[in-house]
Symmetry: none
Subunit: 206 residues, 4 copies
DNA sequence: TATGAATGAGATTTCATTCAT
DNA sequence: TATGAATGAAATCTCATTCAT
């Protein structure tokens, strides 16, 4: 009945470990998280962890990769396959997506990236290539589509898809820092923001 | 009358040390900065540093306090004493202020706060009370003033002065993470954002 | 009739493993060699290796045993069965043997023995009994034979067969340490040495 | 009366630590010696040790340097300033020197060098330049002097000062490995060897 | 037999903090 | 005050060995 001391589960281990790491990093940040703690959370020995991840940094990178990529992939997929107009998409699926991020566990990753990024240039580079630039590119495509169809003015915004994202990032940080001091209705704030943007770039106010 | 070249007054020491710490934290982050390094940069011995700051955390808090407070104080002062209309102020002094932050050394402080905040609740609390809530309050006052005077609609924005700040925070982070990968004209982005906001809340479009 | 290409007979395994260990130890020394590395070189799993050798030390001892014994056995055999005079034997087969050792892979074993010996007294004891004392005894017999036949003076050397061996050991070490810095013609050095010795102990100089 | 927990003795520490390391390495070899053990023997904390020596390897190198250099220096000095003939010097001061080495603590260093050398090429290079090549050069000078004065034949030996040293090295190793199994009168062996050599290279037998 | 995933003790190294001087 | 040598408690990482499969 006692569970055996050894368990061979090569397949699942990496995922279990990154999950444990995710939660540990979330609580303490990268530097303050002890490898041993991650191992314990994963129900695994320190040694095993090092079998799958050569260094603590490696583990960190894997965490970022694992939890971020799927999100962006989904967004891009959506943008590419939608048959909505650009405006409808922004006010609909994109808004929903933007609102969900600050409340998902992934919100922690910004903090990790912000904290550790400057000391891990390759991670930042990877993140740039695989997440940021791809995401922005997809948004730009969306905006261009809106301009072409006459829905949006050919004005400033296409230069700044960043603006669409700024309040999302802001919300992610807020939730982690000041949630205790003052709740912020991030859903509403983000909705408000998108509304402002749409107001400003639409050719006709609906 | 001339003071001896090498005499430093006691009173300067803490400031010299926090300045050194600021630059060290900026480069490496909190955890990766060694107390010894800070002392060296300040041209002071480790022992002396500990005379002024009981722990490394203490030093950290002092850094945040020293570099942030003056900025907010100035902003608040401006808001309170200005005789501009709310719209003029936002498009003028506030915009200038918002644009300057991401390019000043102070931008580093967000990173520090984001990284270390969750492990230093008292610091976050202090920051909230002395910086965030005061800043937001001042902005809200400004907006209320605009509404009262009929310049702004009595609508959404007064609930979200946060929105005004989001792109500034976004810019601060961007500059630290992705500057190498892709420059972002933060001045323009921030200006654009304020314009959007004003467009949306003004009673008459100018 | 042809045996299947990939079938290895059990009996070969230990030999394959010690061979692999030999080469690994040669490159890195005992402490720095990982058991896993030995297993990989032998094309065998770690587990299997442990089936044949209870510990890493065990493996080490086996290596020494396997590679040294044959050499000494051959030398002794030669001494016992030769019909040369002692002088002829020393200047002939023994010289050849002595010259060959520092160039053979076996030279590595001195290094291993020197490095690890003091921590493995039983290994040293074994080595003493099976290699050193037997070798020295054989040499002494040879010298005694030379003295009896009147070829050698009944003088000092019979007390020091060690002297015959010293330059061989020296050469083995040199080749491992200073080969890169300066080549040494060990063949010539050893030949020279034997000549000196013979010059000194022969009753008549030829 | 209780000795203070802290003792400031910057000057003496390195020497104390290398001495402790010497004795620890002597007993266990490099790999098997724990830094903590060295610190304990030196009556010092692990941390302090790392203040003076950046890594365990560093410490090792310092040990070799400290204990070997003086010996060679002394020998060279002697050779250069002596007014003895080459033969007298070899049979006198050099013999004495050669006999003393295998009995001094320095004998351990050969073992260390042999064990670790192959993994520390820079150490070997240093050793070569500062010890081996200088020592051999000095001996060669001595032999040349003997040849010029007609004391020695212009024959082989000047190519092999190595031979003079071989039995010394052999003795150093023997003492460490087989002392327990069989004592060897290294003094006598070395004397014997020098005698053989002199016999062979002198123009006239005295 | 045979594998290699898993363990866990322990090694090196770092660094905030203390305190003799 | 002022110094920086000295401490010691961790933290990361390694690897011989075990054992479920």
């Amino acid at each position: 009945m006692a569970k055996p001391r050894f368990q061979r589960r090569k397949e699942d281990r990496p995922a279990e470990i990154t999950a444990a790491a995710m939660s540990a990093f979330a609580e303490k940040g990268f530097a303050a998280t002890k490898v041993e703690d991650v191992a314990r959370r994963a129900g695994v020995s320190k040694g095993l962890l090092y079998l799958y991840f050569k260094t603590k940094e490696d583990l960190f990178k894997a965490v970022i990769r694992n939890f971020v990529s799927p999100k962006v992939d989904a967004l891009i997929e959506n943008i590419e396959t939608t048959d909505m107009t650009a405006g409808e998409f922004l006010a609909g699926p994109f808004l929903k997506f933007a609102q969900s991020i600050p409340k998902s566990p992934a919100r922690i990753l910004v903090r990790l990236l912000v904290s550790e990024g400057p000391r891990h240039p390759d991670l930042v580079a990877w993140y740039w290539e695989n997440v940021v630039s791809r995401g922005l590119e997809a948004l730009r495509t969306l905006l261009v589509k809106g301009v072409r169809s006459g829905e949006f003015r050919p004005s400033a915004l296409d230069n700044f898809p960043h603006l669409l994202v700024a309040p999302v990032v802001f919300s992610m940080l807020w939730k982690q820092l000041f949630e205790d001091q003052a709740t912020l209705d991030t859903d509403r704030m983000i909705a408000q923001h998108i509304e402002f943007v749409l107001d400003s770039i639409r050719t006709t106010s609906s």
